[in-house]
C-alpha cells in the first residue's frame, strides 16, 4: 500500500489507527481526490464487525489538511447517519469531529471506535425490530452476554437473516500461551444465523452454526477440528452454548499442552541431529537442522502439525551447495510419507527420522546434481 504518498499529517493518524486498534483494521484502497496534488488523501477501511467487515471511506482533503475527515458509510446503511447524529451529544462522534485536532494522531482511531460502537448499537436496534419470535427470545436471553454482536442482513435477492456473533469463553486465550506473541486478544466466536421471514413453516429450521477463530489462533489450533454438538429441535442459544464452551475449553487446553510435547520432540531431535539452526520457540511448529553426509551438506526443515504427535512432521530437504538458475537453493519435495507411529517414544521417532533422512540424502543428492546439469 502506498502509505508514502499519504500526506504525513494524515499518515500519522492512519498508522496510529492500524497499530493501536484493539481489532485488526485493514486498508483496502487509497486514492487521491485532488486535482493538482498526487497525495492520497482518501482511503477505504475494512473494519471487522460481527465476523464480517464493514467498509467505510475516510475522506480527508489535502487542500485543507487541518480539517477533520469526512466519512462515507455503506450504501445499505442509509439510516445509520441519522442514528449517529441523534446519539448522546457528549459521547457523539460529532463532538470529536467538531473539536478535531489534526496534530493528535490518536483522533482517527477514537473516532472509528466511537462510530463502530454506535454501529453495533444501530444494528442491535435493526435486529430488535425484526418481527420474529425466536430472534426476540434470543435477544432477551443473550443480550447480557459481553461482546455479543448482531446484524441484520437483507439483500434484494436473498432472504433476510439475523446474524449473531457470540464470543465463547471468558478466559483469555492469550494468557494460556506461555510467552504469548499476540498483540490483539485472540477470540473464538460462534456464528449463529437465523433465517427470517418464513412464517408459513410450522417448525422453525435450525440456525446455521459456524465456529470462527481469529487468524493468528490458527498457529495454535484449528476450529475446524472441533465437532459442533447437534442443535436439537426447539433449542435456544442459552441451552446450546454451555456444552460447546466446555468442548472448546478442553480443545484449547489440549492444544496448549501439545506445545510442550512439540518442544520436547525438538529437544529430542537435537540428540541425533545436533543443535538446530533455527526453531520456533513459542508454538514449536518449525525447526531447521544442518546435516552433512560426507561432503554433501544440507538443511532439514521440520514442520510440525498442530495435531502432533497424531500426525507426523513433514520434512523438506534443502541443499546448502546447489542452487538453480535463479540462485535459489534446490529443495526436495515435501516428505510426509515415512514410517511413523504416534505410539512410539519421542526418542524412537527422532532416531527413525534420522535413519530416513540418511537414506533419503543420496536420492536428494541426485536431485541436486540433476538440477545443476539442467
Amino acid at each position: 500500500m502506498a502509505v508514502d504518498r499519504v500526506p504525513p499529517i494524515f499518515a500519522a493518524q492512519l498508522n496510529y489507527l492500524l497499530s493501536h486498534s484493539p481489532f485488526s483494521i485493514k486498508v483496502e484502497q487509497m486514492w487521491s481526490g485532488s486535482k493538482n496534488y498526487p497525495w492520497n488523501d482518501r482511503f477505504t477501511l475494512l473494519i471487522p464487525f460481527c465476523l464480517d467487515f464493514i467498509k467505510w471511506d475516510i475522506i480527508y482533503n489535502v487542500e485543507s489538511p487541518l480539517s477533520p475527515p469526512d466519512i462515507m458509510f455503506g450504501a445499505e446503511d442509509d439510516k445509520f447517519i441519522p442514528f449517529v447524529l441523534s446519539s448522546d451529544p457528549s459521547k457523539s462522534p460529532m463532538h470529536t469531529l467538531s473539536n478535531w485536532n489534526s496534530k493528535d494522531p490518536s483522533r482517527l482511531l477514537s473516532l472509528i471506535l466511537q462510530l463502530r460502537e454506535l454501529y453495533s448499537a444501530y444494528q442491535g436496534k435493526c435486529v430488535g425490530g425484526v418481527d420474529d419470535e425466536r430472534v426476540k427470545f434470543e435477544i432477551s436471553t443473550m443480550l447480557s452476554r459481553e461482546g455479543i454482536e448482531m446484524s441484520l442482513s437483507s439483500g434484494v435477492e436473498k432472504p433476510e437473516e439475523v446474524k449473531f456473533a457470540v464470543p465463547l469463553l471468558d478466559t483469555s486465550i492469550n494468557n494460556m500461551v506461555p510467552a504469548c506473541p499476540w498483540r490483539q486478544q485472540q477470540k473464538i466466536h460462534l456464528q449463529v444465523i437465523y433465517p427470517i421471514g418464513r412464517k408459513y413453516q410450522s417448525a422453525p429450521s435450525a440456525p446455521r452454526l459456524k465456529l470462527v477463530s481469529t487468524l493468528e489462533l490458527r498457529s495454535l489450533f484449528s476450529v475446524e477440528d472441533i465437532k459442533l454438538p447437534t442443535w436439537l429441535n426447539g433449542m435456544c442459544m442459552a441451552e446450546y452454548l454451555p456444552a460447546l464452551e466446555e468442548t472448546v475449553q478442553m480443545q484449547i487446553l489440549e492444544a496448549v499442552s501439545l506445545i510442550g510435547i512439540r518442544r520436547l520432540f525438538i529437544e529430542t531431535l537435537t540428540v541425533v541431529f545436533g543443535r538446530p539452526l533455527e526453531a520456533d520457540p513459542i508454538f514449536c511448529r518449525k525447526a531447521t537442522f544442518l546435516v552433512a553426509n560426507g561432503v554433501f551438506t544440507f538443511l532439514v526443515h521440520f514442520l510440525l502439525p498442530i495435531q502432533f504427535p497424531k500426525k507426523q512432521p513433514t520434512l523438506i530437504l534443502q541443499s546448502s551447495q546447489h542452487f538453480n538458475k535463479q540462485g535459489v537453493p534446490v529443495r526436495s519435495p515435501v516428505m510426509s510419507e515415512y514410517p511413523w507411529s504416534p505410539r512410539w517414544e519421542l526418542s524412537d521417532m527422532a532416531s527413525r527420522i534420522f535413519d530416513f533422512v540418511v537414506e533419503e540424502s543420496s536420492n536428494f543428492k541426485k536431485i541436486c546434481n540433476d538440477a545443476l546439469q539442467r
Binding site: P7, G33, D57, D70
Partner: protein, 321 residues
C-alpha cells in the same frame, strides 16, 4: 399570476398546473410549506453547467450555496381524468437560479450564509472528486443544521466516478436531494434541466426577474406609516433621497455616451451622415468593456495569488513541503 397552458413540446402526461411564486425569506406560512412535498428541482442548463464547471476547476472539494425560489404547484381541478391523482393537494417546485461557492476554503458555508442572508438561499451543494454518489456524514450533518434555520433544504451533490483517470473525457455525476426535516432523511428528487427551446416554452411565463440592479423608475416613497416622529421621518427621507441620487448617478455613468438625444439621430434622414458618430459610440463602448475586462483580470489574478499563498500556508502547517 397567469396559469400556464401546456405548450406543444411539453411532456403531455404532466398535469396542467398553476405556479405561484413564493419567497421563503418572508414566510407567512413557513411551517405549512415545510410540510409540503417537493415535486422536483429545476435548474437552467447554463446554471448547471456553470456549477459543474466550478466543480471541475476547483482543485479539490468544493461547497457552496444555492439560490432560487420555491413555487407552489397545484394540480388543476379540471384535470379529472388524470390517471393517478396526487394524494397531496399541492406540492412545491424548487428552482435554482444561481449559486455561490466557497472557493478553495471548504467548510466556510457559515460565513457564506451570513454574507448572503439577503438572498433566497434554498439549499447548498457539495462537490467531491472520486467518491460515491450519496451523502456523507458531514453532508448529512450540514443539511440537518441548515434545515433547522428557516428554509434551505435542497442538497445538490456532485461527484466524479471512482475510476476517473483524469483523461481527456471528464465525467461528472450529480444528484439532488431534498432534506426532509420531519423524517430526518434525504429523499432523492428529480432534477429538471430547463433549456432554451420550444420544448421549454412553458417555463418562460413562469419566469420572474431577480435582478441585482436598482429597481427603476424610482418612485419616491415616504417612511413607514408606523414612524410617527416627524423628524425621524425627514431623516429617512433625506437618506432615501441620497440613495436615489446615488442610484441615478450610477445609472448615468452606465449610459454615458449614448444619451437619448444623440440616439434619435440614428434614425431618419440624418442617419447616413451620422456614421462617424455611431462609430465613436461603438469605440467608447469597446473601450469601456476593455477597461472592465482589465479590472476583472487584475482582481482575478490578485484573488488567485491570495489563494495560492493560502494554500502554501496550509501545506506548510500540514508538513507537506
Amino acid at each position: 399570476m397567469a396559469p400556464i397552458s401546456p405548450s406543444g413540446g411539453e411532456n403531455k402526461s404532466a398535469p396542467p398546473s398553476n405556479l405561484t411564486s413564493l419567497s421563503l425569506s418572508s414566510p407567512p406560512s413557513s411551517s405549512a410549506m415545510e410540510d409540503l412535498p417537493l415535486l422536483k428541482v429545476s435548474i437552467s442548463g447554463p446554471t448547471l453547467s456553470s456549477l459543474i464547471n466550478r466543480f471541475a476547476s476547483a482543485s479539490s472539494n468544493t461547497e457552496g450555496l444555492l439560490f432560487g425560489k420555491f413555487s407552489l404547484h397545484t394540480p388543476s381541478l379540471t384535470d379529472d381524468d388524470s390517471p393517478s391523482p396526487s394524494p397531496h393537494p399541492s406540492s412545491l417546485i424548487a428552482t435554482v437560479t444561481g449559486f455561490i461557492s466557497s472557493g478553495n476554503s471548504p467548510g466556510d458555508l457559515d460565513s457564506l450564509l451570513r454574507r448572503n442572508h439577503h438572498r433566497h438561499v434554498i439549499g447548498w451543494f457539495s462537490g467531491r472528486r472520486r467518491s460515491p454518489l450519496r451523502p456523507s456524514l458531514h453532508e448529512f450533518a450540514v443539511s440537518q443544521s441548515l434545515s433547522s434555520a428557516d428554509s434551505p433544504r435542497i442538497f445538490l451533490l456532485l461527484t466524479t466516478p471512482f475510476h476517473d483517470s483524469q483523461s481527456l473525457i471528464h465525467t461528472h455525476e450529480y444528484r439532488v436531494y431534498h432534506f426532509v426535516k420531519s423524517g430526518n432523511c434525504f429523499e432523492a428528487t428529480p432534477l429538471d434541466v430547463v433549456n432554451i427551446g420550444p420544448a421549454f416554452r412553458g417555463q418562460y411565463s413562469a419566469f420572474s426577474p431577480n435582478s441585482e440592479l436598482p429597481c427603476l423608475p424610482y418612485e419616491f416613497q415616504g417612511g413607514s406609516p408606523m414612524k410617527e416622529d416627524e423628524k425621524e421621518r425627514e431623516n429617512m427621507n433625506l437618506r432615501e433621497m441620497k440613495r436615489v441620487a446615488k442610484d441615478q448617478k450610477d445609472l448615468e455613468a452606465y449610459a454615458a455616451g449614448y444619451e437619448l438625444g444623440s440616439l434619435s439621430r440614428l434614425v431618419g434622414s440624418d442617419a447616413v451622415s451620422y456614421v462617424g458618430g455611431v462609430e465613436e459610440l461603438y469605440e467608447k463602448m469597446l473601450a469601456k468593456l476593455d477597461c472592465l475586462a482589465n479590472q476583472v483580470e487584475g482582481s482575478s489574478s490578485k484573488v488567485l495569488e491570495m489563494e495560492i499563498h493560502n494554500m502554501k500556508l496550509r501545506h506548510r502547517v500540514a508538513g507537506l513541503e
